[in-house]
Amino acid sequence: GSPGQPGAPAADGGTGGATGGSGAAYKVGLVYSKSGPLASYGAQYRQGLTAGIDYATKGTGAVAGHTIQITEQDDAGDPAKAVASATDLIGQGNTIIAGSTSSGVALQVAPLAKDNKVLFISGPAAADAVTGANRYTFRSGRQTYQDVATAGSILGDVKGKKVTVLAQDSAFGKANVAAVTAVLGAKGATVSSVEVPAAATDLTPFATKVKGAAPDLLFVAWAGANATAMWTTLGQQGVFDSTKVVTGLDIKATHPLFGEVATKINFLSHFFEGAADNAAYQALDAGLKKQGATVDLFTNDGFVAGQMIVHALEAGGGDVEKMVTSLEGWKFDGPKGSLEIRAEDHALLQPMFTATLKDGANVVPQLVDTLGADVVAPPVTPFK
């Protein structure tokens, strides 16, 4: 006889029971970096997620009697692998996909969510384009726009001031330049940029250019390697003598890397240990301690993802459309403070922080200011 439907499970029942009867587990798939360059972000995210689900389910790990069954896949930072993993997870019947440590992964997985009608909750990926990607895509972390808006606040009134952005010549850097131009330019600042090609080894020419521009505020958007060399060079060429310097605060492990200039930098921060204090924060802290970890930048994103997953399951069971609707417009308290999922584009409205690094061998961030979610809210980008 002719073969059955391609891709169909064996006719005689088999193992397929993905969804269905009461008591069956809710299946959540995670695609994130367990290895590769972003492995430490991934680890923090995963720890936060455990704490978050624990907190939201009050320690039961179950929603209305259904346990939450998490299947993890490592994308090693490679979007191609992430797509394969997500396909696999969706094929296995996971109706919620979460993770995406890097923006590349988030932007490649988001269309899959729409194609296959599953819920996708993006993780630490900061790209603005994740917001408003499609109806099925949400985010549990902050986006670049919010970072930049926070930096702007550090300068106070920027009208007539000169702002220079020192950024890597990459999508991440360009997004920052664009955001600074949009946010601070709109407030009357003159924004220029110095873009550093990825292949540049010695940063002296760029430091010289920055020095030559003599800006009032220098915004540094830098991710990854040779950060220390960059800061050292800026220091050597005397940039700090005349200019206020702002940059984003990365995970703890990077704090010693600012070298001698650490105390001269103003930091904007998404989240750090001691940035906020509320029930959710304490739950995060306690949950992490249980796992032998401590609060750090992306533990928040995992925790919030956990909260969102549980909320969606509570409201929608396995039904994706219901879950989506339940999340839209949802207001809740996360470790950072009160959060809101904006219905129009699924932006996660959230407070942001500014900080400095304390001197000494143990460079510890100190909170300077907390900015309300509305102050740093990105403009609405409706779904395409």
Binding site: P3, K34, A80, A84, D88, G104, Q108
Partner: protein, 388 residues
């Protein structure tokens, strides 16, 4: 380039290197990789027909896989015909086909190109861009992607082939690197920078979209492999194929015989690149978008690794190398996250939990125990068991 003197030729037959271009050592010229000679093995008609039998068997088996609902725990994620498995197999096949296209340059003609990624990426990106940005219908987009990529190959080849050996490798690398930088810079928002460009779902047939349609994407990938296989087969048995072998073995000699070596090499490069671009197109369709990893020199390098792992100058070798490499690359993540590691000492566990570590060690082991590639190893085993 100063034409090498007779003396150089004299010595190069006897010694592994020449003074003028010691670089040729690593290049394929005097290679010890000893590309196997299928021509020797399959000389006559009936033999050649017989040779196609295993190919057809494999093809039928592969084509039938989407109807096989069996679980192979540990080997494939879920059912063989589950979307996860089929997606994985499709990716393996596409990369295998691309490796086959690279072997046209490397194994057949002895051209060590570090820029093959450029053409694969061109196929992939031109497809996504012509679908989304230029809003072309699919057939036109395919035409545009393949046509422009081939044109690109012609131009790049015409320039790069002015030099040989490592210099050729590096000029192609420079082109590929330039393209990579351009893709990363995301000019006009068309390439999506390091985040890549998703495929416009509305512009491709529904059969290729969505998890449930994984079997069709798989068959598409299989189709590509068949096309590449047939093209390479026809090529190597043509006069051009023989000329390519001649260029690989001894370029100066080929020139003195009156073979237009430049044209032969250009032909090899264009054909290889066309197949590579086709692979890029299929890659974009199977994975649902283009991502900048395809533009990197690491990707070309991994193609080289695949071809040599499998066995240069052999269709089975290149294909098998590509498939296995991709499979290992994808599945080793599972190994490194496997539970049995938990019992091990910390350092060992930390190291083993890096998939790249396992992949690296895997290469070393394969290369070490099968220096002439997996197909070479297979041949050796067959011969040994036959002689006993």
């Amino acid at each position: 380039m100063t034409p090498p003197t007779d003396h150089v030729t004299e010595r190069s037959t006897a010694q592994p290197s020449t003074t003028h271009t010691p670089t040729d050592v690593v290049v394929v010229g005097n290679t010890t990789a000893a590309p196997r000679n299928e021509e020797v093995a399959r000389a006559r008609g009936p033999r050649r027909l017989l040779g196609t039998v295993p190919v057809l068997v494999v093809l039928v088996v592969l084509g039938y896989l989407p109807y096989v609902p069996v679980e192979l725990p540990g080997i494939l994620p879920g059912r063989v015909n589950g979307p996860g498995s089929l997606q994985l197999l499709a990716t393996c096949l596409v990369i295998g086909g691309i490796a086959l296209s690279y072997d046209v340059l490397f194994g057949r003609t002895g051209l060590l190109s570090f820029g093959h990624a450029l053409f694969v990426a061109a196929g992939s990106y031109l497809l996504t861009i012509s679908l989304s940005t230029w809003a072309l219908p699919l057939p036109l987009a395919l035409l545009a992607a393949l046509g422009l990529s081939t044109l690109l190959a012609l131009v790049v080849g015409a320039v790069a082939l002015r030099v040989g050996g490592i210099a050729f490798a590096m000029v192609t690398l420079a082109f590929a690197q330039a393209a990579s930088i351009i893709v990363m810079r995301n000019p006009g928002g068309v390439t999506g920078g390091e985040e890549g460009r998703p495929l416009d779902r509305d512009a491709v047939p529904d059969l290729l979209v969505g998890v449930a349609n994984a079997p069709y994407r798989y068959w598409l990938a299989l189709g590509f492999v068949v096309v590449a296989w047939v093209a390479v087969t026809v090529l190597v048995h043509s006069r051009a194929g023989h000329a390519m072998a001649a260029v690989r073995e001894n370029e100066q000699r080929a020139a003195v015989l009156g073979l237009g070596t430049y044209r032969v090499k250009l032909l090899a490069l264009v054909v290889g690149s066309f197949l590579g671009a086709l692979g890029g197109v299929v890659h974009a369709l199977v994975l649902g978008g283009s991502n900048p990893h395809l533009t990197t020199s690491e990707f070309t390098l991994s193609l080289l690794v695949m071809v040599v792992l499998g066995g240069a100058g052999s269709r089975w070798g290149a294909l098998l190398g590509g498939v296995l490499y991709t499979y290992a690359d994808a599945r080793l993540v599972e190994v490194s996250n496997a539970g049995f590691l938990q019992g091990m000492p910390d350092v060992v566990r930390q190291v083993l939990s890096q998939p790249l570590f396992i992949l690296g060690v895997f290469f070393i082991v394969v290369v070490y125990f099968a220096p002439s590639g997996l197909t070479g190893l297979g041949g050796r085993l067959i011969r040994r068991s036959g002689s006993r």
